[in-house]
């Protein structure tokens, strides 16, 4: 039944895709309440969950960029939008930067798309794909000493999210090398 319903959804809602260049240079991450109300239909359910998952993904990035300003692995915002392995990786990375005396600056540009939600009704898991542009970011030495840096760029990213205690959180992600998407 759910397969059939999802299939119908696929056919009905298959969006006409915008061509290349639909860049969204100014993502507006907003803290939203997650889908806690009973959805009236699977369509609303999917739409709400998709929006909530994407928001959580964007907010994870916002939290990470914010934490990287001070290379603070214990920034409480991180755990609001990341959990499990994803949170471990973020905290470990920030700790590493801290140990190296490095701080981050700049903003990333996101273009996320929710590429999967399951189950089809009342989803609890989501997959997000992105082409993260990090060219506007850099690391620098906290003590002002020179730091040899190389350029950021567009990095392909896959993330998985789960609905945990009513909130979507990134539980795992893979951020690939510069130049893996354009």
């Amino acid at each position: 039944m759910s397969n059939l319903a999802a299939r119908v959804l696929t056919v009905v809602l298959l969006p006409a895709l915008a061509a290349c260049g639909t860049n969204d240079p100014a993502p507006k991450p907003t803290t939203t309440t997650t889908a806690s109300t009973a959805a009236k239909s699977p369509v609303n359910d999917i739409g709400t969950a998709s929006k909530a998952a994407e928001d959580a993904y964007r907010n994870m990035w916002k939290a990470f960029i914010s934490a990287s300003r001070a290379s603070n692995p214990n920034d409480p915002e991180l755990a609001r939008y990341a959990s499990g392995h994803a949170l471990d990786v973020l905290m470990r990375g920030l700790q590493q930067s801290k140990d190296q005396g490095l701080l981050g600056r700049g903003e990333v540009i996101l273009r996320p798309s929710v590429s999967g939600l399951e189950p089809a009704t009342a989803p609890t898991k989501a997959a997000v794909e992105d082409c993260v542009d990090t060219s506007g970011t850099a690391m620098y030495k906290a003590d002002g000493s020179p730091y040899q840096d190389s350029l950021g760029g567009k990095r392909s990213m896959s993330a998985s999210l789960e609905l945990i205690d009513g909130s979507w959180k990134v539980v795992n992600f893979g951020l690939k090398a510069v130049g893996t998407c354009a």
């Binding site: 590429s115 997959a127 090398a177």
Partner: protein, 291 residues
């Protein structure tokens, strides 16, 4: 149309592999240098994305790609290809290409490969559409993955039984029962996978051939029947046995043939069969030598 030539090929690409050689003290590229896949190479999300191209020649966009069934990451059945959009990838998005031109602003790529335009079509929202580089060198076919799965098959060790049970001796002209231990006769399977594509190899025991050591060969269809006391001492095995006619020490060799097939990625096939073998030394004596 260009994709038709690459029938049955799965494109696999991974950015993580290309940068694993970084020295520890290497300057980080950007603010995410400490959280990217170089730091986390075993993460499943850092592995490959697979694009499934059609499995049949002459199958153009719009066809279902033969008998293969495609599913998005949510498990929903979706078209394997969409005209103008390309072919389904394991991330649930579609990949069109390769493009004859590099997309504007794309970094130069080393080695052969192509740029594919990726677009996502999930009903739950899709605003990301961009180009992805797929190197030729990282292509695998389901057949190659099948070989990997076959190599991972762990067939059970063949353990043979005989009645009379060694070290008890066999008697000339008294039927010897032979059978394989049941644990030696279980179907086995193994899976090899890259992200989004997995192939499972299945091995099933099909027959057992026994070289009895005295010049005879016995073909037992199956594992043979275990002797039980109800069968009596002089009855022959209905399925697998031999009667020695001369005293002596014989080394019996049993060989089980395993039929191996594989399935995955909308394809299936068979590979040459595998075997397991075991030896058993039987001492056959004249009846009057029995104590």
């Amino acid at each position: 149309m260009r994709l038709k030539r690459a029938t049955g090929i799965f494109l696999v690409f991974s950015a993580c592999m290309a940068v694993t050689g970084f020295a520890v003290e290497q300057a980080k590229a950007d603010v995410v240098g400490n959280v990217d896949c170089v730091q986390d190479p075993l993460n499943s999300q850092c592995k490959v994305v697979v694009v499934q191209l059609p499995g049949k020649t002459g199958t153009g966009p719009g066809d279902s790609g033969g008998s293969s069934e495609c599913r998005d990451p949510g498990g929903t059945i979706v078209p394997c290809s969409i005209p103008g959009r390309g072919w389904l990838g394991s991330d649930g998005c579609y990949y069109d290409g390769p493009s004859s031109q590099a997309p504007p602003g794309s970094p130069p790529q080393s080695g052969p490969g192509g740029w594919y335009f990726r677009s996502c079509s999930a009903p739950w929202g899709a605003n990301g559409a961009w180009w992805k580089w797929i190197p030729d060198a990282a292509r695998v076919t389901p057949e190659q993955l099948a070989q990997q799965a076959v190599s991972r098959l762990q067939l059970p060790t063949l353990r043979m039984h005989a009645n009379p049970t060694p070290p008890a001796r066999q008697l000339v002209f008294l039927p010897t029962w032979l059978w394989a231990d049941p644990v030696s006769w279980n179907a086995r399977s193994a899976t090899a996978a890259v992200s989004g594509l997995s192939v499972t190899a299945n091995a099933r025991p099909r027959g057992m051939r026994i070289s009895t050591g005295d010049g005879s060969t016995v073909n037992c269809g199956g594992p043979g029947d275990a002797w039980t006391s109800t069968a009596g001492a002089s009855a022959a095995s209905p399925t697998c046995g031999h009667t020695y006619t001369r005293a002596g020490a014989y080394t019996l060799t049993a060989t089980v043939t395993w039929e191996v097939s594989w399935t995955g990625g909308g394809s299936s096939g068979t590979v040459p069969s595998l075997t397991t073998t075991a030896s058993l030394t039987l001492l056959v004596v004249e009846s009057q030598a029995l104590n």
